[in-house]
Structures are given as structure tokens and as C-alpha cells.
Assembly symmetry: C2
Homo-oligomer: 385 residues x 2
């Protein structure tokens, strides 16, 4: 197990009607920037509820609506401008990971003199941030409890993840009932995103991180059990609750600390989203089994076999390579059951930009679970067609 520093300052109010605890936002000041996406929070009555609580608390409320999936740097800039002009004290995103990510970089940008894109390119430039309080409506990115944010500049076909201790939310409200209205497509994509976060941590070369590996398997089993339930019974509280809590635990540091590894499927997918603005989780579901097959070797077979045995209950003690292959098949089958696409072709993606995408994605992957070059990444993209 590697040395680590565990620090998860975010508090979570989890469960039905926890929105009442939003009143605790007053600890951070009087002026709030409410950040949200489209109409869904209005349709479900959450927008009015939030506004009414803020009103009861006599907060001054400014708003930034219309934050898009794969949030754009332009939205961040708008939010930063409001924060600076109106002397905002606290940023309150209400929505899914895109809204939260946008708000987190707004919070950092409010304390930064230059263009916030600098902070996306280099998280170490974040030297402070307004406090962020989140209300989550989609189980996927884990942004409600972590230090990360992913922002795109579509003009440049760039999508980057940034991170800083300063943008960990102060507290987050996780009410699984808010996810009852999430569409089948987004439920499936969200589950694939959660699973990919777990995979990124699970397939590590760090030695002796036994606890972390077992926790990864626990969370993968949770996704596999409850993903299809949530798909078929959208208002199944137990399923939505387990997926929601799993989304936070998958990426808040619990799985990675002591077992650090360079993520590799996420950087590849970010290139897909940057060039084609597709749904992140769909891209991940396509790339994950292809990546698994590509890196499977005598050297990695044991780890993939362990995955199959401990997550899919495949029989123990068989030939590791056979079990590994079956585990990868099971992964592919699971994504199919979730109705997720299996090929890039299904999303209208062809080879056009593979060269450029592979070059960008491969930057840094020499320290991944299995090191990957530009040519490797390009081949993975091709295998995913």
C-alpha cells in the first residue's frame, strides 16, 4: 500500500427530504450564485424548492442557467463574471456532474485574476475558491464529493479535467428521489461512468492495497446489481440510493488513496467527447471492454481473472486467461443489458480524427496500468469502431 494523505472534508446529507439542510448554506455568506442546466430541475419542482429555501434564509440569489452537458468554458466565464461583479459568497450548483463541474471552476475562477481556462489546463494554479454547496440530480461523475472538474472548449476540440483541494464541495445534498426522473439513457451512461471510475482505480500496479481492491469490487457489484433495476424501475429507491452513494464513493479518494495509478480510459474518452460532444458514459462503455481486451496479456490475466471471480462470481481456480476473457465478455454483456452502445460507429464516429485524438490522449499514459503509446491508443480507437 502506498503512503497517502486522506482528507475528505465534504459533508453529505443523504436521503429523502435532505434538501431542508440547504439552509446550512448561510454559514458561507449572504450572496449565492445558483447554477443549473436545463428545464429538468424546474419540471421536478426542485428549482422552486431551492429558491424558496434561499428566500427563507434571506440570501441574495444570482442565477446562471443553461449549463450544457460537457460544460463549456464560456459558461464558466459567465459565472465568474457574475461572482466578481456581485461579490458572490458561495456557489450552489443544482444538477448533474456537468453543472457541478462548471460551478466548481466558477468558484475557483472567482478567486483568480486571469482567464479560468488557465485553471482547467493547470489545477495547481487554483490558489483558492469560493465555497461550493451542491444538490445532486444524477448519479455519475462523483463531482459532489471530489476535487475534480472537466471543462470543454469545443472551438479548440479540447476537454480537460482539472483538480484542486480548494474545489471540494463544502457539503452536498444527495436525495435519491431526485434521480427518479433520469432517463434510461442517462441512467445507463451514469452507471458506466461510475464503473469506469472504479476500473481506473482497480486496475493498478500498486502492491498490497487489498482493502482498496475489495472496496472496488464492492462498488462494481453494486452497479451491476442496481444498474438494471434503476433502468427498469426508475423510482426504485433502493436502487437509486445505492447507485447515488456509489457514485460518490467511487471517486472521493477512498478507492485510490494508497493505490494510485494513471487513469487511461477517461483520457481516451475525453478526446471522443471533445471532438464529437457525445455522452461521456456512452463513450466509456464502448472503450472499456476494448481497452480491457487490448491490455490483456499473461502479465495482466491474473488481475482480470480476480475481477471476474470477485465481481461476477466466476468459478475460482481456473486458468486465469480463460477467466479473464470471460470477465471481459461479462463486462460487455452488462453494458449491452444497460442498453449502452458497443461501437463508436453507433455514435457516428469514424477514423477522421483518430490520429490527433490518440496523440493527445496518450500524453502521460506511459505510467498507466499497462503503459500505452499513441499507436496503442489509436489501435484501441480502431478496435472500438
Amino acid at each position: 500500500m502506498n503512503n497517502f494523505h486522506y482528507r475528505i472534508p465534504t459533508e453529505i446529507y443523504f436521503g429523502k427530504n435532505q434538501i431542508e439542510n440547504l439552509k446550512n448554506i448561510t454559514a458561507f455568506g449572504k450572496t449565492v450564485l445558483l447554477v443549473y442546466g436545463g428545464q429538468s430541475i424546474k419540471k421536478m419542482g426542485l428549482y422552486n424548492k431551492v429558491k424558496s429555501i434561499l428566500e427563507d434564509c434571506r440570501m441574495n440569489v444570482f442565477e446562471l442557467g443553461g449549463v450544457e452537458p460537457n460544460p463549456k468554458i464560456e459558461s464558466v466565464r459567465k459565472g465568474v463574471d457574475i461572482c466578481k461583479k456581485e461579490k458572490v459568497d458561495v456557489v450552489l450548483p443544482v444538477g448533474g456532474g456537468s453543472v457541478l463541474d462548471c460551478a466548481k471552476v466558477i468558484a475557483a475562477g472567482a478567486k483568480y485574476d486571469g482567464d479560468p481556462w488557465d485553471l482547467v489546463l493547470d489545477g495547481s494554479k487554483i490558489a483558492g475558491a469560493l465555497p461550493v454547496v451542491t444538490v445532486l440530480t444524477l448519479s455519475a461523475t462523483g463531482s459532489e464529493m471530489d476535487e475534480f472538474a472537466v471543462i470543454s472548449d469545443m472551438d479548440k476540440n479540447e476537454k480537460w479535467g482539472t483538480g484542486s483541494e480548494y474545489i471540494k464541495p463544502a457539503f452536498s445534498i444527495l436525495d435519491p428521489t431526485y434521480t427518479f426522473s433520469v432517463s434510461k439513457k442517462q441512467t445507463a451512461a451514469g452507471t458506466a461512468d461510475i464503473m469506469s471510475h472504479i476500473f481506473e482505480n482497480y486496475f493498478t500496479n500498486a502492491e498490497g492495497a487489498f482493502v482498496q481492491a475489495r472496496f472496488c469490487e464492492s462498488l462494481l457489484k453494486t452497479c451491476i446489481k442496481y444498474g438494471p433495476v434503476a433502468l427498469n424501475e426508475p423510482d426504485n429507491y433502493e436502487a437509486r440510493a445505492n447507485l447515488m452513494w456509489t457514485s460518490s464513493l467511487a471517486i472521493n479518494g477512498l478507492l485510490s488513496l494508497g493505490a494510485e495509478v494513471t487513469w487511461c480510459v477517461h483520457p481516451m474518452e475525453h478526446e471522443l467527447s471533445a471532438f464529437y460532444d457525445i455522452t461521456h458514459g456512452e463513450g466509456l462503455a464502448i472503450l472499456t471492454p476494448v481497452w480491457m481486451e487490448y491490455v490483456l496479456s499473461d502479465k495482466t490475466a491474473e488481475k482480470f481473472a480476480q475481477y471476474g471471480e470477485n465481481v461476477f462470481d466466476l468459478p475460482k481456480g481456473k486458468n486465469p486467461m480463460e477467466t479473464a476473457k470471460e470477465a471481459i465478455s461479462k463486462t460487455r454483456e452488462f453494458f449491452a443489458v444497460m442498453g449502452l452502445p458497443a461501437t463508436l460507429g453507433q455514435l457516428g464516429i469514424d477514423e477522421t480524427h483518430f490520429d490527433k485524438m490518440a496523440e493527445k490522449a496518450a500524453d502521460g499514459l506511459e505510467t498507466a496500468f499497462v503503459p500505452l503509446t499513441k499507436d496503442d491508443v489509436k489501435q484501441i480507437f480502431k478496435n472500438a469502431l
Copy 2:
């Protein structure tokens, strides 16, 4: 899954040489009360190391040594007196759970006008505490990351657990190498204590807390894998590291939040320790399988079978009662492998005080996984003879 409020403010510096981060204690003030037990931290050089770091930081250091296992209220009172007289800013226990628990109640007592025993009897009376920074030398109680402390008054044969948000440590240093010198007996007892914390959370009637149950199984598997390794190879870093991190995760809220249940084996063991001053973990190892057998019924068989299947890899799909019984046997066998005692007789305990002990232990157990009366508890004690 029940509603919950997740708040784990304690930071952890985990791994080799993390003691260097002790310098961060200066954030809490200039005057520190160093709390420790016997000679072991001096023998291993940790005492000198800590003193030298505090000196480098120009801290004023007061000391309270000689804190006993099953820490006594008299030690707490001594510490509180020093804190009040010397205007101590921060309390620094260096040792195992007993030292940490003692220090946590000292920290609370320093901010309380009456006798600190009041705070042991009623944690809600804790309305503030000095910051606590811990350096851990024994994997067992999880006190380094939780809100609990257990203090005894041997004159009254009383041993009670108290708890408060205020006594959660600010940060803790967990260096597994400090546990290399822990004796076989204490290694075994510590492992039994960790496992008991997990069992107390695992055997719950809360519905739908799937993530929490899988996490419990992950940590139990860790204890079962690494407990014997640590026993036979005391300086096996991987084993000590996994046990140490498991001790913290078992009781910091991760397993219990959303799946709350009344603990029942711990209260029973506290009566043993209060009357006989035995090693806590040994008492737990004796009572746990006896309790399991006592509460096993058609109603609970499925949960025990699940435990057997998921922790001991017993074959799935067999008759639940048979699997449950095998799981309990496996538990007993594991404790035997760890060299732990199996009967109260081995510890010199007879029926003398069972009546009084059962009466005190049963108070509140009507809400346990299987509700227990005074007569039930008495019978469990008898079955453990």
C-alpha cells in the same frame, strides 16, 4: 438505506515516516499535552521522535504518561487538570486505543466545568473539546478516526462508551511500522476488536444498505487474510498496513451510516472488562461466536449464510441454516487460529457477577439486530463459560 449525515473531518497521514507531518499540529496552538501509556513508545524510539518534532516546532509540552489499558477516569481527571492549569491548546495521544480514548475525553473535559465522568455517562453533555491529534501504535479500536471513547471506573465496576462530534481527531498519523512490535496477543485481540466493529454494523435490519454490507465483507476479508500474517510475521508491512487502515474504516461511519443498528456484543463485553479488567478484544472473540449461535434462527439464517458465502467463500445456494452454521464455525476457527481464548473460563471469569452484568448490558438491546433481554444476555454469558 436509511437517511444519513456523513461527516468525517479527520485527516489521515498514512504510511512510512508520516510522523514528519506532526509539525502540522502547530496550526492548533503552542501548548500541547502529550498523552501516552507505558514504555513501549520509548522502546521503539517514537517518544523521542515526537518530542524532537515538538521541540523543533517550539511547542510547550506537558505530559501525561502511564495511561492504562481500559483507561480509567482517574487518568482523565489528571489530564483535564493539566489542560486547565496550563492552558493547553491541543491534546496529542501517542499509543493505542486506550491512550487515544483517554485523550479524547481529556480534550472534552478541558472545556467542561464539572467532573469528566459526566461526559462519559452522557456524550450529549460534550459541548466542545480541545483539538486532538493522534499518533497510532495499535490497530484495533478505530479511535483515531471516530467520535467514540470508552472509559472505566473500576471502583464502580463501570465501563461506558461515550461519543461526540467534538472529539473526532483533527488528524491522525498512521504508520504501520509502529505496529511491528505489537505482541501476538495484542495483534490477535486488536484484530478481533476490528472484526467486532464490523459485525456490529453488518448484522443490521436496515434494508437496502447494499454498499455498506459489501464494504463490511471487504473489511472482514481483510482481517481474515492479514490477521494470521501479522501474527506470524510481525514486520510484514502489507499485513500491518491493511489491518491499520481497516481499523479506521471499520468504525469511522463508512459502514454504519445508512444502516444504523444497536450494537450488542460490545455492551456485553464492556461488562466483562468492567468487572475483570480483561483485554477487550479477547472478550469480544469469546462472546462473538456464542452470540451468533444464540441469535441464529430461521429468521436470521439468511444473513449469516450471506456472511459465510461472501466472507468465507462458502458455496452459494445451499440450505441457509447449514451455511449459517458453517459460517459460525469458521468464525470460531479463525479466532482459534489467532490464538484467542474461546471461553470465559480461560480468563478466570465465572458466574459470580453474571446477573448484575447482564442487567447492565441488556439496557437498550431491545433495538438490536435480534432484541435481547437480561435473561438472553445472561444465557449468552453462560454459554460462553
